[in-house]
């Protein structure tokens, strides 16, 4: 294998054998802390000397044992993660952090905690509004979270530990953002599938290894002269957690390129950074309360005007669509997703406002149903093509 192809081959390996590195590290005595949502403050885990690990579901694995413990009205993605966890796919975990994101997470917290029975299990109560009072509260809540980790690892987390972790995670975000740059040429130099796999692989590694992997990917893709894709419509994927490359694969198989996203396993999580000039806890509060743009966080409409409201709430979509020159967007949501589901008409109105054609897909998180989306996606591409 030549040096140039090292990065993507590694990505592929980590993506296919998801969690293999965390399993090794756990066998060496390292403590791996799982999380499922972008609201879990990872810097704290890194600062405590533990390894943050993002759980994935598996669209190819039917949900079985999980359904005997958890209602089927829970978000199907989250149900799949839970099913894999109770089927010991992630037996190497020492603990988990579950943030207050959506009802599916909050209401099933006890089910997870009792079913997995891990030594460390922590809920982080992220406020659902952004005001001075919620910042004060969240600062305190982060201190409680910090204390819980300190008790778990048996050592203090200093401000220096935190500053170091923040720096490493920011570096990770910078590098991830640099990978997105390869999406800008037409056709893009990196496929949507490759980028999805890269970021997923990264979320299964300790932050330093994740940074190194990104360096290798940047180097490899940087040497490409030609796009792996043909010229086709440039698509933005809008949605929540999409923890596999199948949707991007389907879109690209139909002749389009995935060049941008707003998803949790993408720009929602990887772009916003922590302000390194602020005191660490405050800076974390700022990022995890205000900078993550998820519908879970209520943002007040101060203008009394609907158009102004959606321009403010979805501005990031507009910027991204412009920056990456998208020709169309796909909102891909799971059934039972209340936070995103209640925004669909407003999001549709926003896409009309910015003149980006939109396809709305509701899915069940399963390989079988993704295939069924083929006709819709193909028809949409024919329509905008």
């Amino acid at each position: 294998m030549n040096k140039q192809s090292k990065g993507m081959a590694k990505v592929e390996r980590y993506y296919e054998n998801y969690g293999s590195r965390a399993r090794e590290l756990s066998a060496e005595g390292k403590k791996v802390i799982g999380y499922v949502c972008s609201f879990a403050p990872l810097e704290m885990i890194t600062a405590s000397g533990c390894i943050p690990f993002r759980l994935r579901g598996d669209i190819h694995e039917p949900i079985t044992k999980g359904d005997t413990l958890l209602e089927t009205i829970v978000c199907p993605y989250y149900r799949s993660c839970f099913d894999l966890a109770v089927k010991h796919r992630y037996e190497f975990l020492s603990g988990m952090v579950i943030p207050h994101a959506c009802d599916s997470m909050v209401r099933s917290f006890s089910v997870w905690s009792y079913s997995l029975n891990l030594p460390y299990f922590q809920f982080v109560n992220t406020p659902s509004v952004v005001k001075d009072s919620s910042f004060e509260f969240f600062n305190e809540e982060l201190k409680t979270y910090k204390k819980s980790l300190e008790e778990f690892v048996g050592k203090k987390i200093t401000d220096d530990d935190l500053a170091g972790a923040i720096q490493l995670h920011n570096e990770n975000r910078n590098k991830a953002r640099a990978v997105y740059e390869f999406r800008k040429p037409d056709p893009p130099l990196i496929t949507g599938q490759e980028l999805a796999k890269t970021l997923l692989a990264c979320s299964s590694l300790p932050i330093e290894e994740s940074n190194r992997l990104l360096d290798e990917v940047l180097e490899e893709v940087g040497q490409r002269k030609k796009s792996p894709l043909g010229k086709g419509p440039r698509i933005l994927i809008d949605g929540a957690c999409i923890d596999n490359a199948e949707l991007a694969g389907l879109v690209e198989d139909l002749g389009a390129s995935v060049v941008a996203d707003t998803i949790c396993n993408g720009s929602r999580d990887y772009w916003p950074k922590v302000d390194e000039k602020k005191p660490p806890i405050e800076a974390l509060a700022d990022r995890y309360l205000d900078k993550l743009n998820c519908p879970k966080t209520y943002r007040e409409n101060k203008t009394g005007n609907f158009e102004e409201d959606i321009k403010a709430r979805f501005a990031d979509i507009g910027f991204t669509a412009k920056e990456f020159q998208v020709d169309g967007a796909i909102i891909y949501l799971y059934r039972y997703c209340d936070p995103f589901g209640f925004e669909v008409p407003a999001r549709k109105a926003y896409y009309e406002l910015i003149h980006v054609p939109l396809l709305h897909l509701e899915d069940l998180y399963s390989a079988g149903t993704i295939g069924q989306l083929r006709t819709r996606i193909q028809a949409f591409l024919e329509m905008i093509g």
Partner: protein, 279 residues
């Protein structure tokens, strides 16, 4: 003379159209469980009726649920674009196409050139498709083709409150036991399906003229119920099953003519009328 063919492999029926300036042949045959493999039989039949050899077809487009893996097609296009193009050619004033097929249904808004501007599909639930009527016909012991006419004899259509096919089946059985006349039940079932399809269509902006295609368009009871639900007259093509295949053939023609204008022959596949290779 240039000839174009469209082949539409639906979930229950396979349709083929061969076109020159006008339709020269069309065939409708059952799809069956081996639909993908047997698409060649329907194509052969269409060629036979047109009196043409495969080599004399300039361009072939496959569409429909089984469009992928048709070995002799030069291109595959979704039924959305094909229905839009087919209906647009038959009714230039059409702005909405509703297709009720055996396993799915869809609504498409189209522009004056027969291009889709928006669409919506239901393929995840039997209750929104022809399958709904089929299941009920079966449990009532009535022939599927007679359902529409039976429903027109109803004086007081029964209200079927369950949308789920299985529950609706239970409900029909219960109402039958209560003594509700069969025509009222059948009319109720048609209203329930029409209601579901109309609701789906209303998620788009339904504009006139509205054209109904697919097997559902052959059912007079459904047509009446749907037209009431949408509050407008609904047009039906002379042969509502072939608009997809017709659209496919027309899109092929568009491609060829565009290529010829720029002085090139369109890229086509080397084709033989062989069975599709299944994985």
């Amino acid at each position: 003379m240039e000839y174009y063919a469209g082949i539409d492999i639906g979930s229950t029926m396979t349709k083929a159209v061969i076109l020159a300036e006008e339709i020269v042949a069309s065939v409708i045959g059952p799809t069956g469980p081996e639909h993908r493999r047997l698409a060649n039989k329907v194509m052969e039949e269409a060629l036979r009726r047109a009196g043409l050899a495969l080599e004399s077809i300039t361009y072939i487009i496959s569409t429909g649920y089984g469009r992928i893996n048709v070995p002799f097609a030069d291109k595959q296009v979704t039924e959305i674009s094909c229905h839009a193009r087919g209906v647009g050619s038959l009714f230039p004033q059409a702005r909405t196409v509703i297709d009720i097929g055996g396993q799915d249904s869809k609504a498409i808004t189209i522009d004056a050139n027969g291009r889709p501007t928006n669409f919506i599909m239901n393929d995840k639930c039997a209750a929104g498709s022809g399958r709904f009527i089929e299941v009920i016909a079966d449990s009532l012991g009535v022939k599927l083709e007679e359902m529409g006419d039976i429903s027109l004899r109803s004086t007081h259509p029964a209200k079927i409150s369950n949308i789920c096919t299985i529950w609706a089946q239970q409900e029909v059985a219960a109402r039958l036991a209560e003594g509700v006349p069969v025509p009222d039940l059948v009319a109720g079932i048609h209203e329930a399906l029409a209601d579901r399809v109309a609701r789906m269509a209303k998620r788009l902006k339904v504009e006139k003229e509205v054209v109904l295609t697919g097997g559902g368009a052959k059912n007079k009871g459904l047509l009446k119920a749907l037209s009431e639900q949408l509050g407008c007259e609904i047009l039906v093509p002379p042969e509502p099953l072939i608009t997809g295949a017709l659209g496919a053939a027309l899109l092929g023609k568009d491609i060829v003519q565009k290529a010829l204008k720029s002085g090139k022959r369109p890229e086509t596949k080397k084709r033989t009328l062989e069975e599709a290779k299944l994985h």
